[in-house]
Amino acid sequence: MIVEAGHFALALALALSLLQAGVPFWGARTGDPTLMRVADGTALGQFFFVGLAFAALAYAHLTSDFSVVNVEENSHSAMPAIYKFSGVWGNHEGSMLLWSTILAAFGALVATTGGALPLRLRADALAVQGLIGAAFLAFILATSDPFARLSPAPFEGRDLNPILQDPGLAIHPPMLYIGYVGFSIVFSFAAAALIEGRIDAAWARFVRPYTLVAWSFLTLGIAMGSYWAYYTLGWGGFWFWDPVENASLMPWLAGTAFLHSVAVMEKRDALKVWTIFLAVLAFSFSLLGTFLVRSGVLTSVHAFANDPKRGLVILGILGAFVAGSLALFAWRAPLLRQGGLFAPISREGALVVNNLFLTTSCATVLIGTLYPLALEQFTGQKISVGAPFFNATCGVLLLATGFLTPFGYSLAWKRGDLLGVAQRLAFALACGVATLVAILAATRGGPVLAPIAAAIAVFVMLGAVSEVAARGFRGRAKVGVALHRLAGLPLSFWGGTLAHFGVGMLMLGLAATGFGSEVIATMKQGQTLTVGPYEITYDGSRTQPGPNYQEVVADLRVTQDGARVTTLSPARRNFGARKMSTTQAGIATLWLGQLYLSINDLAPDGTLPVRLYWKPLVTLIWLGAVAMALGGALSLTDRRLRIGAPVRARSSREAAPA
């Protein structure tokens, strides 16, 4: 009964989303405020009913109602409750429902927090948001019904794919989707601005909070997915340039570019057309990602068994929205009043350079991902483009972007002084060069890019610190004055600084992967191996039952110069229902590095096949991403960015730039 109610709620949500797309739009054209206000109610209603449908599906999963096909195919009564719940989106239908739920949630967010927005802009934006919602709800109802029943109902489900039975599934997709789908709001506002043919600094102020939410979650979602792959796939890799990963990286790159260009628009009323274009681009990449993941056109670790018809429908939705918005852009963008000008050497100029690099690296990822598909379509020849391609293109471009970051961040708005900036950054630059020289002197061979990346990482991190110091100690101020000044700096400055520092941390973590060590061996009981600065001794293994699996756990002692450090307990889990095994790596975080140990099934003679890695500074990769997301959150709490809050909380000269 509850399941049917969920199905019905989904249909109601579709009806409401159609209303949301039509009525406010008509109201905005005829200037009728009553019709325009319909947007708020329908947006809230759509969210309520989609949320209800989602809750109904979650209920079916939690109560193991195997008469629902979706539950039968992806759940098992013996599964722990958390996996029963996260199993809701561990399949195609459920994940599309989660997508639509988050989409509706963002619409509802605008309806509730957008009181200060001009009525017409809000009505148009929510209408576009309603149109996106309608397309995806119709898609779910027509091709991917999560509520389909099965008769007779089986006694037991086929179990969730063991790889997905991990806390990662509870966190990674929702975060990623909040990021992906969050850009829909930005897209809707851009489309609304184009429809009205008017855009100004206030628009930038309106969309910036939503952008920050989406961007921060996307950053966390990607990082979380990468850490999940790292600990679950059993060989310590954390980024594979898999098409689906690329699909999440592309909106991130476009979104990061947008976040920077919208700052220019807010502060200087410039780069309007370009900013709108990036807004369209960021969400188009989100849709492209959805298409790539959900259509099964690519061979990827993320692919689910899939029906090609669904791919065609998503391709249709993708094509309609991308072509529609680009046509709107071509038609209406010339109407937008030209923005202000600025000198090339200035914060604005630097942000343009940032944008060029980010969009170009995004383009290389796009080409690397889609070229094989296009080639196969047109010539029938099948190729695959692997990690070396992306490292040599996108990787190099992003390194260059990183190198330019501190310069841009230290330049003043309007007209900058490159020489002054260079002096300010001299210390950071010197430390970077020293890092490079030290690494080159200490190591031989190894990846070419690693020492360069490490040097740039040090430069980026110290560059962020230098900027803080420069703000505080301007004019050789005393420590007390400097601290007082720093305390007065706006939160968005601290947010930006933290995010840029995070970029440096991330790069340092990536660079350090070039200097780890690994051992692949078969260990006898009592045998000791050395990896990096540690010795590892195999003490023995034991078998123990889990809720819906059997596992073999190996115990290995870690010592350093005879002193005990920790114990690693990697495991192999065998899932009966699907006859599949997964590996639980044993990971010990030691300072910022990690000792990573994964095992295979015990050999008949009782020896243990192991893969051992020492990964120095590897945690910085994810800590850096967390720092970036926290920086985004910090900017979000800045009073000056809040709509409706007094425009200027402080008027001291130091507080002005951000």
Binding site: G234, A305, T364, I383, S384, P388, A392
Partner: protein, 151 residues
């Protein structure tokens, strides 16, 4: 600075960065792109040793042998077989889902002993899913029944 100069500077900058990207891509395409072939394609076309290939098919039953340092097995599309050696980087990353009789995609360098020195393996992700390359390779040989494994 006039609007025209501004636009010129912008376009110039875009062209410079774009040019850099194109240069990098052309450079990178040379060494890192693998051609997909089925076992039958390989037997019929005998690619030059040193070519970078991606092979898809089923792991031949009874063909896989594992030592402490490597995994060897044969891939078939039902008509021909090709041997694959998976050592080093590849051996460190053998997927949990690798099994005899199941679909696999192996990527690596084809050597003069007519074997593929794989550097990565991709195995299926759930039991209803089979890599598209494998499906196509099997279809070509008429060994694929619709609805057999992939739904």
């Amino acid at each position: 600075m006039t609007r025209k100069q501004f636009r010129l500077a912008f376009i110039g900058g875009a062209l410079a960065v774009g040019g850099l990207a194109v240069g990098l891509m052309l450079f990178a395409f040379r060494g890192s792109v693998a051609l997909f072939m089925s076992p039958s394609d390989i037997v019929q076309q005998s690619p030059a040793p040193g070519a970078r290939l991606r092979i898809g098919g089923l792991v031949v039953n009874g063909s896989s042998a594992k030592t402490a340092q490597s995994l060897t097995f044969a891939v078939t599309d039902g008509t021909h077989e090709v041997g694959v050696v998976c050592a080093g980087e590849c051996f460190a990353a053998v997927p949990d889902l690798f099994r005899e009789g199941q679909g696999v995609v192996a990527e690596g360098v084809y050597d003069s002993s007519h074997k593929l020195m794989a550097d990565s393996l991709l195995a299926k992700h759930d039991e209803r899913y089979m890599p598209r390359e494998v499906v196509d390779a099997l279809k070509k040989q008429g060994r694929w029944q619709e609805g057999q494994a992939a739904k």
